[in-house]
Subunit: 324 residues, 2 copies
């Protein structure tokens, strides 16, 4: 059976490798509201660098959501940065490419590296390895560890497999290439378990969360092939849930074949909504989010808007119309 | 990157290879209520044999469901068998291992081969290649075509990829091995498209069906760790849907981590219900269905019951209690 085509394997920048080899201590920071690619990639890099005798501090401004506590090593994450750290240690930004996205815009690091698969128009980072063609930052970390000659342990494998699983919709999105499957196969060889990961990603809802999900589906309204659902603070209160429980809610209405976009509105505060967009494929929702100063990928993006719900819906519909 | 471990590749019986090479015309039959593994494996084998200059007749007693019409070549299926065919041609049974399961128990073939990954207690077939360790019959056909030296065309690849995708829950079930991912990677190389297949498998719901789904979720009641939902004939009427639209509804409540069983009650006629059970893993729901003269697998089973809804629920709860 065919090996991975080496010409397709991601090339790791030499300066990144020598930077990681040279320094002794790193701050590894990832984006706010972290998901499995952010968390898994960061833990995997941290574990790998520690086998090389390095010290790492893992930072996320937000807490790791409960449902990601199955990721081995999630406890390594701190949500505060020791003072003076920015003078002592260089930073590695993972799965994001600006200090703002990591919620540490005030800090000034003596050296910095960025490893990310998101498109960017920013310029942060002394060393920048940004590959929008990678399905997940986890794929980039996989190649990086290979290049550093680090053995992929079971714990690293579970973290990277989960990172890739979430960012490809467990191999359902269009970024699922033969390469993605082959990398994932190696991670299974190294100890990741597909059904264990899937169960923890998809079958760990609390009853409260499921109740919120049903309430949210009841808000479904379809206009202009846009399936719109929402959740209010009142609904959180009624079901005893919170924003983290809405993870992935925006994906479900995509099951409908005649829908172009699924839009999920979450009430942050009075007349202030966070909007998650999911595309069925043809519409680049990152471009739509950008109209509202948001961002994301072609198939998944988001933005925030100050207005009442009906106006927020109308402005989205208008934006989609102008796009078409 | 590592090649497929040849020791793990399925060995194709030599007698099966020579049988397929020797004969000129085959009846390929698969099981009633066919799903993607049955359909995709059959089409792939038919296309492959035809490149060798053979003739094939594809048979399924039931029609190919609409949502599988994206599989290239599905129109090759007939649901009648030309008279005398059993005297003229040998049969290849795919994804099942008895004539009963294919709905052709009356026929007598001069020669027969069985290719299946289901466990069996039967003995049908002059040549029997039965591999319960294979995640899908599609995997077996993949190795068979390799062994026959047949090029995997794009159409064959889409059929086999879909077969594997459905039987592994698109790589979420415990049968998802590194091998499964590597075979699937080769099928992508050959022209299968992961997101195209997933879209057709999971994102083809009508708006009506989604409305019925929401109504069904609104009936959720949890007692004794059993998540119970139902659909009435009235609900079908209101949403303009029918029984086929409830396919897979019973799976969703399984997302809840504290649930042991998901039970979905569908009203067939007055005081007559069809019950679908899905287990989260530990309870053998086939055993519970059997108490009501139903059947199925460990994780998915069903039965019918004559009673009103409340009594049907109560008798299920009682049966589960007596099981524990």
């Amino acid at each position: 059976m065919k090996e991975i085509d080496k010409s397709k394997a991601l090339k790791v920048p030499r300066e990144l490798l020598s930077f990681l080899k040279k320094e002794d201590k790193f701050l590894i920071a990832t984006h706010i509201n972290p998901e499995a690619d952010a968390i898994g990639s960061s833990i995997a890099l941290s574990m790998a660098l520690e086998t090389l005798g390095k010290k790492t501090i893992l930072y996320d401004k937000d807490n790791i959501p409960d449902f990601y506590h199955f990721l081995p090593g999630y406890k390594k994450f701190k949500n505060s940065i020791p003072p003076k750290i920015s003078r002592q240690s260089p930073v590695v930004l993972l799965d994001c490419n600006s200090l703002e996205r990591a919620g540490i815009e005030g800090l000034n690091f003596r050296h910095s590296a960025v490893i990310d698969h998101h498109k960017t128009e920013g310029f942060y980072g002394d060393i920048r390895w940004i590959k929008p063609e990678a399905a997940a930052t986890g794929i980039m970390i996989f190649y990086l560890l290979k290049k550093l000659g680090i053995k992929i342990t079971k714990d690293i494998a579970i973290n990277l497999y989960s990172a890739i699983a979430v960012d490809t919709g467990t191999f359902r999105y269009s970024n699922t290439s033969a390469e993605v499957l082959r990398v994932s196969a190696e991670l299974i060889d190294a100890g990741a378990n597909a059904s264990y990961v899937s169960k923890h990603l998809y079958e760990i809802w609390s009853e409260k969360r499921f109740a919120l999900f049903i309430s949210t589906l009841n808000t479904l309204e379809i206009r202009d092939y846009i399936a719109m659902t929402f959740v209010t603070r009142e609904m959180f209160k009624k079901t005893g849930t919170g924003p983290a429980d809405t993870e992935n809610f925006s994906s479900f209405p995509r099951m409908m074949k005649d829908i172009k976009i699924s839009a999920f509105f979450r009430e942050v505060s009075n007349n202030y909504w966070k909007v998650s967009l999911r595309s069925r494929g043809n519409i680049d929702v990152a471009r739509i989010a950008k109209l509202f100063e948001g961002g994301g990928h072609k198939n998944a993006s988001g933005y925030k808007i100050k207005s009442n719900l009906e106006s927020a819906k109308k402005s989205l519909i208008k934006a989609v119309r102008s796009y078409m």
